[in-house]
């Protein structure tokens, strides 16, 4: 290997029974870069990130962190290597406040000996500072996460992962359920995380969201890779065409034209 990358997937293959979910998928990401994984529903995006984040194990191919082969048997292993995944369901409890959610499972504490309590003042000030640094405007760390908009929740989840030392941030369709404006807000935080030196893997089915933020694009279709492109090698139009299934779409248009002619 000539260069080592922060996280690299090499010819990842995954079967579910006799179904080939992924076949020979390769890509990589470095610190301060965004690699986008694009694909329609059923293309294998979820299977791929589940392997990267340690939920599933690849049947063939290898994962390398800093050039060394790793075998994740659980999400905990991946987290130990600094790979954090922000899922669509966000791992946030809607009825709990922003600061309680931010530190859930890793509460800062103070006290004497066995009598320990959560340092709420410190937690709130860290939440304010961290979110502020990413330009996220949480009015009040005491408000329940359930009262935040979808974009704000995604942003808090990203800020949390970055704060807890994520070197690689895997974002599972962070913009798919959002309106145009909210999606823009989340994309801004993706770039902010990148600028803080985090390697980002951004999964989406929307090339319009991927192109402005990505450095590298991997297009998946029915479990196979249609190629990995640096930003300089591809424009938005070509990316969209590939995403939409390229030749398949052209055939479909042809058929529709034929039907229209018959009528």
């Amino acid at each position: 290997m000539t260069t080592t990358h922060l996280l690299e997937a090499d010819a990842i293959t995954k079967y579910y029974g006799n179904i080939v979910a992924l076949k020979g998928i390769s890509t990589y990401v470095n610190a301060g870069e965004v690699t986008c994984i694009l694909g329609d529903n059923g293309a294998g995006k979820s299977s791929f990130i589940k392997i990267l984040s340690g939920v599933h194990q690849a049947d063939d191919g290898s994962l390398l962190v800093d050039g060394e082969a790793v075998a994740f048997t659980s999400p905990r292993d991946a987290r130990a290597k600094g790979i954090a995944t922000v899922y669509q369901d966000l791992a946030m409890v809607p009825l709990m406040s922003v600061w309680r959610n931010f530190f859930l499972g890793a509460e800062p504490r103070k006290g004497l000996g066995p009598l320990q309590w959560v340092d709420a003042a410190k937690a709130k000030s860290i939440v304010r500072r961290e979110l502020g640094e990413m330009g996220i405007d949480i009015r009040d760390p005491d408000q329940p996460v359930g009262t935040l908009s979808g974009g704000e929740r995604q942003s808090v989840a990203i800020a949390r992962a970055v704060y807890f030392g994520a070197r690689v941030l895997i974002l599972d369709e962070p913009t798919s359920a959002l309106g145009v404006k909210q999606a823009g807000v989340v994309l801004k935080y993706v770039l902010q995380a990148r600028d803080r030196g985090v390697a980002v893997i951004f999964i989406t089915h929307n090339p319009h969201h991927a192109y402005p933020v990505g450095d590298r694009f991997v297009i998946l279709n029915r479990g196979t890779s249609l190629g990995s492109y640096e930003k300089s090698q591809i424009d938005l139009e070509e990316l969209t065409r590939l995403m939409a299934g390229g030749r398949e779409l052209a055939e479909l248009q042809h058929e529709l034209a034929a039907i229209r002619a018959e009528i």
């Binding site: 791992a91 309680r100 499972g105 405007d137 359930g146």
Partner: protein, 349 residues
């Protein structure tokens, strides 16, 4: 504050000003607090035959009753916030009191080690409840209903076999009884406020502190609010739930000790039916049936309200059967109020 100022300029369309009154009214325990005050003054009006509002002896009466409900309602509320129920919390009072009676009168133990054994027994039952719920993933409603009926049978059959009657008497014959009664079941002053009331308030403060300030409290909220999300970020959800079950059964055992020492005897049917009262206290206190939200301080006001209803109906010289109707009406009003509060809390602004 600088970031908040920036927020104003960037996203003003989302900003709704939240006044201190709105903030106060969206607390989970505010309903129980206002309700307790309303009930207090309502009986001030209806119970005119006695000096309801001013007589300390009257207050000693209803606080005694409220403590009876409120002590166990503290862990029951925490358990509900953690997303589970314990229907065996009532019958556990009877089981524990009877066990104490057995150890004191038949095994001839000193009361202090006997109390320790009873508390350990409570923790053990809670551990079994919790472990079963966590391992089988069955609803705790069913698991603890089973525990309830098993213990109910053991209490009745065991007592009959032991004494030939439906009660264990003469618990005061045990060594150390006087000193134990002083700690758990004595009167405080010449108005006969019970020491039990101090236990009630003390446990409430401990429970409220745990929930609001400790890491365990954060875990309780998350275990009830979204156990999957909690597990994803490393919260030991199973351990949290088992601990809550142990706290509930352990506190019910403490209540059994208090009653056995106060009454000097224990009926085999003692405690049965109280499990629902505890749940009513917690719901009135703002705990959601679905978990993840609630208040221990609110539960204290819930217990106070039910205690006042119990005694107030007698003092107002109404038929005491109306107590159940009142309890039901209070529960219904509380559930509707909670629904409203939760919808507010989850509303996307």
């Amino acid at each position: 504050m600088a970031t908040e100022t920036a927020a104003h300029t960037q996203h003003d369309e989302r900003l709704v000003s939240v006044g201190p009154l709105t903030r106060l009214l969206s607390r989970p325990d505010i309903g129980a607090f206002l309700g307790a005050i309303a009930v207090f003054f309502a009986f001030g009006y209806f119970a005119r035959g006695v000096n309801w509002l001013g007589d300390p002896a009257i207050a000693a009466g209803w606080t005694d009753q409220a403590a009876q409900y409120g002590i166990v309602a503290v862990p029951v509320a925490l358990l509900m916030i953690g997303g589970e129920f314990d229907l065996s919390a009532g019958v556990m009072i009877g089981s524990s009191g009877l066990l104490l009676g057995y150890l004191a009168t038949h095994a001839h133990m000193n009361i202090w080690p006997a109390i320790l054994l009873v508390l350990l027994f409570g923790l053990a039952i809670g551990f079994v409840n919790g472990l079963t719920v966590v391992k089988t993933r069955l609803p705790s409603f069913i698991v603890t209903l089973a525990t309830f009926f098993v213990l109910q049978g053991v209490n009745a059959a065991g007592t009959l076999k032991l004494t030939g009657t439906t009660a264990i008497d003469d618990i005061d014959s045990a060594k150390g009884f006087t000193s134990a009664r002083h700690i758990f079941a004595s009167d405080l002053t010449h108005w006969s406020f019970k020491v039990k009331v101090l236990w009630w308030i003390g446990l409430t403060l401990v429970g409220a502190w745990l929930l609001a300030k400790s890491r365990f409290g954060n875990w309780i909220y998350s275990a009830g609010g979204d156990p999957n999300a909690a597990r994803n970020v490393g919260v030991p959800v199973a351990r949290t739930k088992i601990t809550l079950f142990m706290m509930t059964s352990g506190t019910a055992a403490l209540m059994g000790v208090i009653e056995a020492l106060e009454l000097r005897s224990m009926q085999s049917k003692e405690g049965i039916g109280l499990e629902f009262i505890f749940i009513i206290c917690a719901v009135v206190g703002g705990c959601l049936l679905t978990g993840g939200y609630g208040s221990v301080i609110g539960t204290l006001f819930g217990a106070a309200m039910l205690g006042m209803v119990q005694l107030g109906i007698v003092d107002a010289q109404w038929d005491s059967n109306w107590t159940y109707t009142f309890q039901g009406a209070i529960l219904f009003a509380a559930v509707v109020l909670n629904l409203f509060v939760r919808n507010r809390a989850q509303k996307v602004k």
